[in-house]
């Protein structure tokens, strides 16, 4: 999928929900989650962004983590959604659907000018 550089504010706001969704398919580990999100077009998710989220999920009881020995490599920490995490994912998905619908409706409103005097003269002094 084409990678677009999304505004960082949007990424910060939605990454938590997307990471929960990435965990919905079964136990998985840090780099697999980051790769999954990158493949889905979210851009590169660094470890410094991902692990604080996973730690927060663990503290909230939304995920459990267990270490498994690697195939000749270092061990892997696998994260799985708990029932509480699955409920949280469902709640957040529903809220997100309502929120994005609200934003979409607002942006589609007819008869509202989105241009400011500054913007209308940008590049044309």
């Amino acid at each position: 999928m084409q990678n677009i550089s999304w505004p960082s504010d949007w990424m910060r706001a939605t990454l938590s929900l997307c990471v929960l969704k990435a965990l919905d398919g079964g136990a998985t580990y840090g780099y697999a989650i980051a790769s999954d999100l990158e493949e889905q077009g979210f851009g590169t998710v660094k470890g410094g962004t991902l692990y604080p989220l996973l730690t927060r999920f663990e503290a909230a009881g939304w995920v459990t983590a267990s270490w498994q020995a690697g195939d000749g490599g270092p061990g892997r920490k696998y994260f799985s959604l708990t029932p509480a995490g699955q409920r949280e994912l469902q709640d957040q998905r529903q809220l997100w659907a309502r929120f994005s619908s609200t934003v979409g409706q607002f942006l589609d409103l007819q008869g509202r000018s989105t241009e400011t005097p500054d913007r209308s003269t940008r590049g044309n002094p």
């Binding site: 079964g26 580990y29 780099y31 470890g47 730690t55 020995a69 195939d71 920490k77």
Partner: protein, 243 residues
Amino acid sequence: METRDSRNIPRPNRTDRAAKRWFDDFVLELRLQDVPGDVIGDAVASAREFLADSGGTPGEVFGPARAYAESLDLPRSPQTRTGIAALLVPTCLGLLGFSAVAAAVSSTDGSVQVTLPGLLIALTGLALAACAPLLLGFFVRGPMWRGAGSMMIIFTLQVLIGVLARDLVLFTLPALPTALTGGLILLSTSLWGQFRKGVTDDPIVEPMKTAPHPSFGMTVLEVLGNWMLFLAAAAMGAWFLLR
């Protein structure tokens, strides 16, 4: 358990000096935050696992070690820093006890003169040891010159007071009670050091590994170090009494 794994990803192994420095800073910061050893081991292993998959340097992937350690917001145990004070304060008290025994047994007139510079050095040492948990971050996190400069200022002040006060005697103590009190303090601090549960009881253990057992040599060294001042004071007392 259903798992997804993509082991076809290249796993470069970067163990350069910068990476080692980053991990050292990361562990130090987590220690300063009072994070327990097994939780630190988990965080370090997670970072190594991610780096082995993604490549890049720790700084690129996780950002500055201190900021990353703070962002993890790991559970804390307040025992780590108080453990440092619990180690340093008895050590300073032990030195004080040793000084008392040494001054008492070497006295020729049956009394010990307590001078202003001597008392100041002892009190400063005790105050620094007691405040170590608060001062540790200041000394360790900043540049090396900051810690060295602060110690230099304290040392200069001590020397200045010593020079100005010369050998001003504040009070005189009888030698025998001073020696007995010093010996009792030494015995107490050595026993405390022997049986306390300290920072070394919370080693950094990586997941799927067991805590390292201290070797016989290390155990002997630890016991000797703990009782060294007491044994030296006893030997000194015996030598002065029997000569």
